[in-house]
Symmetry: C2
Subunit: 327 residues, 2 copies
């Protein structure tokens, strides 16, 4: 089986590839070859039992998508995107990468013809939804994104459903929750603090909390994100019908509950490293974000997320800190 | 006030322009000039109290949208589209006209800059919805189009909302019901019979009914469509917030109820001209169409449709048959 991963150098992409390197398979099929690409060349995972071809590419440039699908990959995982904040700051860049890039990929697959019909997994986002919301957002709630990023993801979902319906590929879009705990340095995403208030104290460092403790959000771990991708790649799509865009399961949790879990797992010293410094800009942005879902369909299709925050924090300690709390 | 109408040669476009020729105003402002365009040059309406510039244009061709908006029209009404059946039969043409054409128009408006922010009215469709449905489709039901046409309209809605949110124009999208009674010759649209079973008997001619009498659908008259456009052009958009895509009101009616109304208005002889000839292809297509809506938002914003089928039939007799039932 030939796998193509676009956006393979990002956090979720890297973890996905590393997992595949340990299992050697995806969707029940052994991987013979993986083509990994991103705007910067991804690294091949250590010890992978399959061949890796890594390259740097801009999916939105003419001809790139055609070259990537020329080898007729059996499964295509499309993770490449400009993040929310950047797509809002640079309107043209966001549409070029997130919309044109996705359209070019879909069109390149269609142009192959000749019965070629790969499985395509596309990472969408809960940013396709915009406030005001019901208490729990169900599977038939409408999409009124409040950002250009969410708009671009919602359009990608519509195109994926239509191209799948027409038989050009066999698509599944998965709307990822906010991923917590993201490893690495703090970034400038407005959602960054959800990871920061756990990651920094677990490493013995101070973290800033810019919103109130009662702010509720929808989160899942990097491990869950990798599972979503693996499960979507192997999913029996006959059961999906025309509705190929799925809200992934997650955990609806308040900031206060996240901090309480940190206390249970890492003790009061870790909690004391969180400094409350309200930021009205972030408070306003976060107020428009989804808080809770009822992802019935994804659950019935076998997608799974963590049952509680303690599990998410322990996974981070195992995966990123070698099992040891710092500080 | 300078008005630009794109798709002005279609049935709804023509009726809209003819109405404006009698009122001389739109959204409470006198029309000084109307630029009317379509793939074939529209005709200027007789006796209009404003200047008309009519031209043939393909909105999807490079540079056309830029030329159309160069005169900085205050209000733009975008009706141009390849219809559902053709967009399904010709995938590339549908995306080129319905998606690329719309994107080119939106981008041309954005490119003007310099504080230019016209009112933009876009005709969407109930084809953005796909079965299975609830009994009544509410304003927050999701979009899962089952045709490429519906996909293209749903994407147009998302772009309209994002470009409006960013301040590039002040957009309103109106999802039209199936328009009944369409004047003119029978066309090949799968929905054509909804008009045909009324129009043909009212003109003394035989009509074919390809579905069962209990088929329910969502309809409004050409008069209502013109009112929707006028009302959308003058709407106070402050009340819309970020949700600029509106399901228009209509009448949920069965084929049997339509025929009963025909009998009340035109007598049993008209009804006897309807020949039942079930067509499994049309039966299947129609089964995926919306049947009923709860268009609360549009109603609260002052959009109005006909209260009953008799009114719709009488309007057709007045507007198209000079008040006289034929045959």
């Amino acid at each position: 089986m030939h796998l193509l991963v676009i956006g393979a150098a990002g956090m979720v992409g890297r973890k996905f590839i590393e997992k595949l390197a340990t299992t050697g398979a995806l969707g029940g099929k052994a991987i013979a070859k993986a083509t990994l690409t991103d705007v910067v060349a991804p690294s091949a995972p250590a010890g992978a039992p399959f061949a890796c071809a890594c390259s740097a590419n801009d999916l939105s440039a003419p001809g790139v998508a055609e070259t990537l699908v020329a080898g007729r990959p059996d499964t295509i995982v499309h993770l490449a995107a400009i993040v929310s904040g950047e797509a809002e700051a640079d309107f043209e860049k966001g549409y070029r990468i997130n919309l044109d890039g996705t359209q070019r990929l879909f069109e390149a697959i269609r142009a192959v013809g000749d019965g070629y019909r790969p499985r395509l997994v596309f990472t969408s986002s809960i940013a396709v939804f915009g406030a005001p919301f019901p208490d729990k957002i169900g599977d038939t709630f409408f999409h009124t994104p409040l950002t250009s990023y969410g708009t671009q993801k919602a359009i990608g979902e519509l195109l994926l459903a239509d191209y799948s319906r027409r038989g050009f590929f066999d698509g599944v879009a998965i709307r990822l929750p906010t991923i917590v705990v993201r490893p690495g340095k703090p970034n400038k995403a407005a959602s960054g603090f959800f990871s920061g208030i756990l990651r920094e104290p677990l490493a013995g460092q101070e973290a800033i909390l810019p919103v109130a403790d009662d702010v509720r959000h929808w989160v899942a771990s990097p491990r869950a994100a990798v599972h979503f991708l693996e499960h979507a790649a192997g999913l029996d799509t006959d059961g999906l019908g025309a509705r190929r865009n799925l809200t992934m399961p997650g955990l609806s949790v308040t900031v206060g509950e996240m901090i309480a879990a940190l206390g249970r797992v890492a003790g009061p010293k870790a909690v004391s490293l969180i400094r409350r410094e309200p930021d009205p800009v972030i408070v306003k942005i976060v107020a428009g974000w989804p808080r809770n879902f009822d992802p019935e369909r994804a659950l019935s299709l076998g997608f799974k997320a963590e049952p509680d925050m303690d599990t998410i924090i322990r996974a981070h300690i195992e995966d990123e800190l070698g099992g040891k709390i710092g500080g």
